[in-house]
Amino acid sequence: MMGLEAHVFSNAVTVVLLVGAGVLVAVVRRQRLWREAAHQLWDRRKLAIIVVGLYLGVALLDSIAWKGGIPEDVLDVLPNAPLTLIDRIFLGTKEASYSAPFADVEFYGAAPLRQPGSHLLGTDILGRDVFYLALKGARVALLIGGLTSLIAIPLALLFGVGAGYFGGRFDDFVFFLISTLASMPGLLLLIALIMAMGRDTLSVCVALGVTSWVGFCRLSRAETLKLRELDFVSAARALGVPEIRIVIRHILPNLAHLIVITFVLMFSGLVLSEVVLSWLGIGVDGSWGQMIDGARNELSREPVIWWNIAAAGSALFVLILAVNIVGDGIRDVLDPRMQKGSP
Amino acid sequence: MSVLLQVKNLRTTFPSASGPMPVVDDISFDLARGEVLALVGESGSGKSMTALSILRLVPKPGKVSSGSVLLAGEDLLRLPVTEMRRVRGARIAMIFQEPMTSLNPVVAVGAQVMEAIQLHDPINKVDARSRARALFAEVGIPDPEARLDAYPHHLSGGLKQRVMIAMALSMRPEILIADEPTTALDVTVQAQILTLLRNLQRERGTAILLITHDLGIVNELADRVAVMYAGRLVEVAERKALLSNPLHPYTQGLLKSIPSRTPAGERLPEIPGVVPSPDQWPTGCRFSTRCPLCFEPCETIQPEEIEDSAGRRVWCHEVERSMDAESSS
C-alpha cells in the first residue's frame, strides 16, 4: 500500500477477490447442503441473481485499470492517468454541459453536441455522460457494501463467538461493549467517526463497519451460546479436542448460513446509509449518493433536469431491490434447511 | 353400545412435487359411545393427521380431500365453519402431545380454561372461574384456587397436561381425542395421567380416540385397537384379540419387538427396513417392502378389507389366503 499506486492495488485486490470467489465456489460445490441450496436459489430468484451479477460485472470491469493507450485527440484526460475498462469505453464522450438523453444539442443554449444522439441518459453539468457516471457508481456501491461487510462480519464473529464460547470476563466486556455501541444512534455515531477519522473512502468504510458489526455480534454470540450446549460440542471436548479447533471446525460452520444471510442483508443497509452520508457531504466520491445529492438542486430549475437523479436513483433502487430479493431468497432457502436438517 | 362417530373413507392430502400426497388414505372406522379406541402406528403413519382431520384442524397446505366424518349422523366435514367451532371443544375435544407449547405462555392457565368454557356457555366470569376451579380439583391439581392464576411456565409437565385435560373436558364432550398425551412426560407422570384419563372416562362415559405408538398404553386403556401404516389401516380389532393373536404381519412384528416379550439374552426381533416415504409407496400393499410373508399379489394389488365374524378387520392378502383355505377345508 505504501508507494503502490492506487490502480495497481485495485487490480491486485480484484484478482484476489476473483480467486477467492473461485475457491469459494469450489468448496461449495463439494458440499451437498450448499450445492442444493444454490440450485434452489437459482430456481427461485433467477432474475434478481442475474441483475446482481450484471452489477458485479460492471464493477469488475471498472476495477481493472492501466495507464496509457489514450488516443491523442482526447483532451480532458491526463495522458498518463490510469483508466479502467469502463473509462476507456466512454473515453472522449465528454461534452461541454448539460444535454438531455439522446439529444443532439445542449440543453441550455442549444449549441450542437460533439456526439449528438449518443448519450443514452444525457450529460451532467460538466458534460460527462450520465450513463457512464451511473456505471461507475456500481463499483463504489459494491465497495461500500462488500468491503465494509468484510470488515464488520469477521469483527462481529471474533467478538461474538469468542464471548459466547469462552464466556467469563471477556463475555462481560463484549456484552458491555455491544450495549454501549448499540446505545448510540447509528447515524450519529457514523457521523462522529467520520468527522474524527477523515473523509476518505477507507475511513468511511471503516466507520460503516464499526457501526454495523454490533447486530451480527449479538446474533453470533446468542447462537454460539446455544451451540455450545449441544451434545456434539460436549463430545468433542470429552475427546480432548482443543477449544480453538472446536470453534473453527464445529461452531463456525454452523454459523455459516447466518453469515451469508447477514452479509447480503447488511449490504443494502450499508449502501443506503452511504446515500445519506453523501447528502451530508461525507460520502464516498463517485457514488450514486453523490450524484443524487448533486442533482437535487437541478430539479428546481426551469425546465427541469431530471435524468441525472433518475439515472442514479434507478441504478441504486434496482441494485438494492435485487440484493433484497436475493437476500430473502437466501434466507428462505438456508434457514429452514438449517433448522430442519434436511430438504 | 351405540355408534357415535363414523369416519368413512377419510382422505387427507398434502401437496408435493408429484401431486397431492394422501397422508391419510381412505381410512374408515367407528367409535362407539363410551369406548376407548386406540389408533396405533409409527411416526409418519398418519395417525395424528387423522385426528386433526376429524376436527378439521389440518395445517395448511394440507386439506381433507374426501370422505365423511359423521357425528351422530351429521357430517362434520360439510358443516359451515361457524358450526364446526361449536363442535370443537364442546362435543369433540382434543389434547395434544406437548403440554409445554400447547398452552399460551402469557395467559394464566385458569383464564385459558375459562375461555374454553365461555366460548360455548354464556356464563359470567365468576361462575366460569368456579367451574374452572372445580375442574382443576377433578383432574387432581393440588391447591386449585391458587393454581388458577399461575402461568404455564410455573407448572410441571404433568400439571400442564392436567390443565389441558381440564380444559378439554370442561364442556363434557362426547369424544376426547388424545394425541400422544403422555409421550412428552416422565414415566412416573405418564402413569398418573393414564390413570386420570381412565377414571375420567369411566365416570363421564366419554369416548376416547387415543393416538399412540406405545403398545403398553394401548394395553392399559384401549377397548379396541386400530393399527395404521403409511396412511392406511392394516388391522382393527378388540384389544385382547389383537394383542394375543395379531393377524396382520405388521402388527405381529410390532408385538414381537416389545422388549418384555423377548427372553433375556435373545436378539430382539425387529421389522427390517424403514417406513417408505410417500413418494416411495408401492402401488399394492404398503407394507409389502418389509413383510416377511409377502407373496405375488402384495406389491401390486391393494389388499381388500376382510371382516371376520368377531368384527375384526384386516387388510392382507396372506390373511385372506389362509382364511379362504380354512373355509374351503
Binding site: 444512534p185 443524487i292 433502487f317 | -
Partner: protein, 320 residues
C-alpha cells in the same frame, strides 16, 4: 421484580458512562483540540488566538487524569455532560443548551406523530397480510414491502417534494410555524413521507412476527377449543406478538432521531436533527458531541423502558 428494575437501571448508568468514554476518545483524542480550533478559526490563526479559543471552549486542559488529577479534560467532560452543561458551540460560540431547548419542541412535534401513526398504520396492515397468509394478498403485500424498503429515504423526500410541492402544490415544501394552527400544514409532508419510507420495513417485520406466533402450538389448542380466527388473532397471537413488537418500537426510537435528521433538514423544521446537520457542515464538534450524547441518552432510556415493559407483558420475565 424490584431487584430487576434496580439492576437494569444500574446497568443503564454504566452504559451511559461507557458512551461518554467512547465520545471522549472520538472527540478529544482522535481529533486534537488544536485541530478543532484551527477548523473554527482558520488555518492561519496565530497561536495566541488559538490558545484563547481553547480556553473559552474548555479545551485547554490536559487530557487524562494521570496527567493532572484535578484539572483534566476527561473528568471535566464527564462532569459537564452529566450535569447537562454543554457549553458553547465550536462554530458560532452560541450556548448549545439554548439551541437544544429550542429544538426539542419541533423535533417532538415531528417524531411523536411519526411514531404513533407509523404503528397505527403498520400493525393493522401486517395483521391483514398475516391473516391472509399464503394467498395472493400476502405475496403482493410482501413484494410491495420489499419494493418500498429498497428506495432510499432521500429519494422519497426528493420525490415527494418534487411531486407534491412543485407540481401539485398542495403543501409548502419546507418551513415551520410553531403556532398550533399552522403546525399541521408544515408537518403534513414530512410525516407523510416519513410514514411511506418506513411502512415497508415495519409491515414486513410485524408480518413475520405474526406469522411466527400463528404457527405456535397454543394457537392450535385455541382452535381446538372452538375459538374463531379473529379471536385467536387478537386474544392469543397479538398478545404474544407484543413482545417482539415492543422491542422493535424501542429500536425504532434512534431511527426517529436520525430519520428526523433527514426530514427536518429537507423540510426546514428547526429541530434537533437540523442542529446536528448544521453541526456537521460547520465542523462543530462540541455541538455534535452533545447531540450524540443526547441521542444515546434517549436510546438508553428507551431500552430501559422496554426492558421494564417486558416485565409487564411477558410473565416469564418477572421471575428473573
Amino acid at each position: 421484580m424490584g431487584a430487576y428494575v434496580i439492576r437494569r437501571l444500574l446497568y443503564g448508568v454504566g452504559v451511559v458512562l461507557g458512551v461518554l468514554f467512547l465520545l471522549f476518545i472520538l472527540f478529544f483524542t482522535v481529533t486534537k483540540p488544536d485541530d478543532i480550533a484551527r477548523r473554527a478559526l482558520g488555518e492561519k490563526a496565530p497561536p495566541e488566538v488559538i490558545e484563547q479559543w481553547k480556553v473559552n471552549h474548555g479545551y485547554d486542559r490536559d487530557l487524562w487524569p494521570w496527567q493532572d488529577w484535578n484539572d483534566n479534560l476527561l473528568f471535566d467532560h464527564y462532569r459537564r455532560m452529566l450535569t447537562f452543561d454543554f457549553g458553547l458551540s465550536d462554530a458560532d460560540d452560541s450556548p448549545i443548551m439554548d439551541r437544544i431547548k429550542a429544538g426539542m419542541g419541533p423535533s417532538l412535534a415531528l417524531t411523536v406523530p411519526l411514531l404513533v401513526f407509523g404503528l397505527l398504520l403498520a400493525i393493522p396492515l401486517s395483521l391483514l397480510v398475516a391473516f391472509f397468509r399464503e394467498t395472493y394478498i400476502d405475496r403482493m403485500g410482501v413484494f410491495l414491502c420489499v419494493l418500498a424498503m429498497s428506495v432510499s429515504m432521500l429519494l422519497y423526500i426528493i420525490g415527494a417534494q418534487f411531486l407534491i410541492g412543485k407540481i401539485l402544490r398542495w403543501y409548502p415544501i419546507s418551513g415551520f410555524d410553531p403556532s398550533l394552527l399552522m403546525l399541521p400544514r408544515f408537518l403534513a409532508m414530512p410525516i407523510m413521507v416519513g410514514l411511506i419510507g418506513g411502512v415497508g420495513g415495519d409491515v414486513r417485520f410485524y408480518r413475520t412476527v405474526f406469522l411466527e406466533e400463528s404457527s405456535r402450538d397454543f394457537v392450535r389448542t385455541a382452535r381446538a377449543k372452538g375459538a374463531s380466527e379473529s379471536r385467536i388473532m387478537t386474544r392469543h397471537i397479538l398478545r404474544n406478538a407484543l413482545i417482539p413488537i415492543l422491542t422493535n418500537v424501542v429500536l425504532a426510537i434512534p431511527f426517529l432521531f436520525t430519520g428526523a435528521l433527514l426530514l427536518e433538514a429537507f423540510f426546514g423544521i428547526p429541530g434537533l436533527g437540523s442542529i446536528t446537520v448544521d453541526a456537521i457542515a460547520a465542523n462543530d464538534f462540541s455541538t455534535l458531541r452533545t447531540m450524540v450524547f443526547i441521542g444515546s441518552l434517549l436510546l438508553i432510556v428507551g431500552q430501559i423502558v422496554t426492558d421494564l415493559c417486558y416485565g409487564l407483558v411477558d410473565p416469564r420475565v418477572r421471575l428473573e
